[in-house]
Symmetry: C2
Subunit: 225 residues, 2 copies
């Protein structure tokens, strides 16, 4: 399939997952940098190929084949990210940018060789789950965002969700990384600010950050940091 098609189904899949985002043509169009008209046009063409379900004025939905294609692209993307991070030491935002291209011209053969080389990883360097060869993906239930974390508890960062370099640069500069522990000091629910402590440093984070930092409960009695 073409690069345009792969990106189209990939974005529908991702917006469908991220609750809060809809999958209407305009939303997909904005994400892909094309016009609404082009998105509607594409949706109709992909409906003929049984990748997308299209009903006028309704959100776009993937068929089973469309879902499989999206997960295949995401698998290739995240395996490349892992490879580029571990082997070529690219940064978190560099790996995304490069994988965004490589994902489209990687054969099934190479994909599986990459996977074996890396030891069949479950997650990429951002903590995003890597679908397996059959399109099964680990939808981790134990994780939630910092925004909904309880004040007074210690958590482990398991995922940094995004694709822009600013976010990742900010994280890097402030010791926010997958695997790091932090304590939620206070939740200012009124204006959605969160005060956390990482490595003895206080950070006041707004919602545009806390909704993208996923954490996990730390197993037991580990309340001090």
């Amino acid at each position: 399939m073409s690069i345009a098609t792969e990106n189209f189904v990939k974005v529908i899949y991702q917006f469908d997952q991220n609750q809060g985002l809809d999958t209407k043509p305009g939303t997909i169009a904005k994400a892909l940098g094309i016009t609404n008209a082009a998105a509607t046009d594409m949706a109709k063409k992909l409906a003929l190929k049984e990748l997308v379900k299209f009903q006028k004025y309704q959100p776009l939905q993937l068929t089973e084949n469309g879902r499989k294609m999206a997960l295949s692209v995401i698998r290739r993307h995240r395996l490349w990210e892992t490879f580029l991070y571990r082997t070529l030491n690219l940064s978190l935002h560099e790996i995304h940018r490069e994988a965004e291209l490589l994902e489209h011209l990687t054969s099934d053969f190479l994909t599986e060789r990459l996977s074996v080389f890396l030891g069949s990883p479950d997650v990429d360097p951002h903590g995003d789950p890597i679908p397996d060869i059959n399109g099964r993906i680990n939808s981790d239930t134990g994780q939630f965002t910092l925004l909904s974390a309880k004040a007074g508890s210690v958590y482990k960062i398991v995922r940094l969700s995004g694709s822009d370099s600013e976010f990742f640069e900010f994280c890097e500069e402030n010791d926010i990384a997958v695997g790091v522990h932090l304590k939620v000091e206070k939740q200012y629910t009124g204006n959605e600010m969160t005060l956390v402590v990482i490595n003895d440093q206080k950070l006041l984070l707004n919602a545009s950050l806390t909704t993208r930092i996923f954490v996990e409960q730390v197993p037991n009695l580990k309340t001090e940091l």
Copy 2:
């Protein structure tokens, strides 16, 4: 530039180098798996972009910009080949097949990171020279094919030229590899057969093989094997 354009100038460059092959539209078309009409069409379009010089019924020629583009694609191709061979242990024909795709969606940034990681190699695993970032390529004068090697002498294999798996499989099965020494036992010039000895094994090679195996004189007094 598009993948089609990159492949077009790449093939012109390669056929122009390999003396014996012409660069008329039909030849290029066959190599790319498109019709003659499509090749003529493409040549005209690329002439407008100042990548190709087009004169009716004449062989196609690259402009300086076209040459630069071709060398850039070849650089990416051969760096990927080197990487896939060394790091993922793919075979000589597998690396070609995969690099044929990856070469088109590799940013300048990643290309240079790959190069640095590999220690700025001069040649890829087939012995083909890797153009540098400015498009300069090592046109090694000291090498020639087995077809024109003198009987009785010992040579070192420096390059295996080709892209089909059959050739590389044959080489692998018969200890024909870059860096290996061999002795030319006899040249049957009449029917272009060459008798060589590699690792105490005699091999009778025809011209379709000897024209693709490049060797180099072994420095001095090393006539025994």
